[in-house]
Symmetry: C2
DNA sequence: CCCCTAAACGGACCACGGTCCACTTATATT
DNA sequence: AATATAAGTGGACCGTGGTCCGTTTAGGGG
């Protein structure tokens, strides 16, 4: 009897070559569809067809439409994360926490401005929406900033409350249906953040 | 040539008798389904069947599933509106604006506690979600309270930001998936409201 | 009482998200 | 190279929300 394989510890058994290739193919197809026909055209069938694979494969790789959208955002999301963790001030370390917080809010609104539709589509995931890794990191970051700023109280809830008005669906509604500018939204959020962290 | 009918001015041409009867039938059926089998069992087909009408009728009356849910909430929603407009303090007029604001937040969280599922299902309406009458009234109310409290700045955005963390989907996630108690949420929201209106 | 018309009706139909499972294939082991 | 097996694949299938349109009916005016 040989030893149990145990390929990696603490990681999934690694993805098979064809699987990885198909993932890339699917992401390309999806991105292309978004670019040329809008997010509504990103149908699971359409993506599958365009990538030349079966529909089942799309679901196997991404779990759901929202999961696919999430994957589509992954790059941008990581960039933002990297920026506020290691990048230059005021977003990254080095600036006063409140300035970093404000910069963070502005960055997210800017992200909605450019990726709004995909972002909103990704929010339709009962499981990912609030518990996903991106969101969790954001929450943790905001909590940390609040703590550093000396804010007291239930920081977890305060962070949630600060993040809530940055949800893509709300921001898009305010911009597209109410005609608010993103500058106004950003200023409004800064106002909120400063009020919350004041005293 | 006779005068133009003009049944009502400023109102829709009035609903036909059978239409009104069917609306009631459908609402009953939907409420019953919610009560005995949960909100997920409230399928448009199921409601139609149970009410003894065709599916098309459900859509004609309520526009969409979210619209039906909205209608299901109408009574409770009106009650809350009445309470904060005409009811006793601290929710109604007579108490200091900040106390009224806090009471309002608590009331909404309580509403989520009891009608959460329906509320969340009603939120899935691209058009109703933020622009619906209930939401508009809430916004207006909060704006008015903020103004009375002497808060300055972009009150519309501030009100939005205060309402955002009260969204049913978020509250339900915090309660059911994170195990937070509604008391904690209510206290957290009070904390937020007081910080925002402070100074 | 009849007739006319706008409103309401119903259910066939469609598109899409998601599931399932019999079949194929990559890769590790020998 | 042969084999074993877990992973991957594809597309038929399903339920549901939503649309469409030919038919029915309420109810007011003559």
């Amino acid at each position: 009897m040989s030893a149990i394989p145990l390929p990696q510890i603490g990681a999934q058994p690694a993805e098979r070559g064809d699987a990885a290739r198909n993932r890339a193919l699917l992401l390309d197809a999806a991105a292309l569809l978004v670019a040329e026909r809008g997010v509504d055209a990103v149908t699971m069938d359409a993506v599958a067809c365009r990538a030349g694979v079966g529909k089942g494969t799309v679901f196997r790789r991404f779990g759901s439409r929202a999961g696919l959208m999430q994957a589509l955002l992954d790059h941008t999301e990581r960039e933002l994360q990297h920026a506020f963790m290691f990048g230059p001030p005021p977003l990254g370390p080095g600036a006063p926490p409140i300035d970093r917080l404000v910069a963070f809010g502005r960055a997210r609104i800017a992200m909605v401005e450019v990726q709004g539709d995909v972002l909103r589509a990704a929010e339709n995931a009962p499981e990912f929406r609030f518990g996903g890794p991106a969101r969790s990191l954001s929450i943790a970051h905001v909590i940390s900033l609040l703590r550093t700023a000396g804010v007291e109280g239930d920081l977890e809830l305060l962070a949630s409350a600060l993040l809530a008005p940055l949800e893509a669906s709300l921001v898009l509604y305010q911009v597209r249906d109410l005609g608010m500018t993103t500058e106004r939204l950003a200023d409004g959020w800064e106002n909120l953040a400063r009020r919350v962290t004041r005293c």
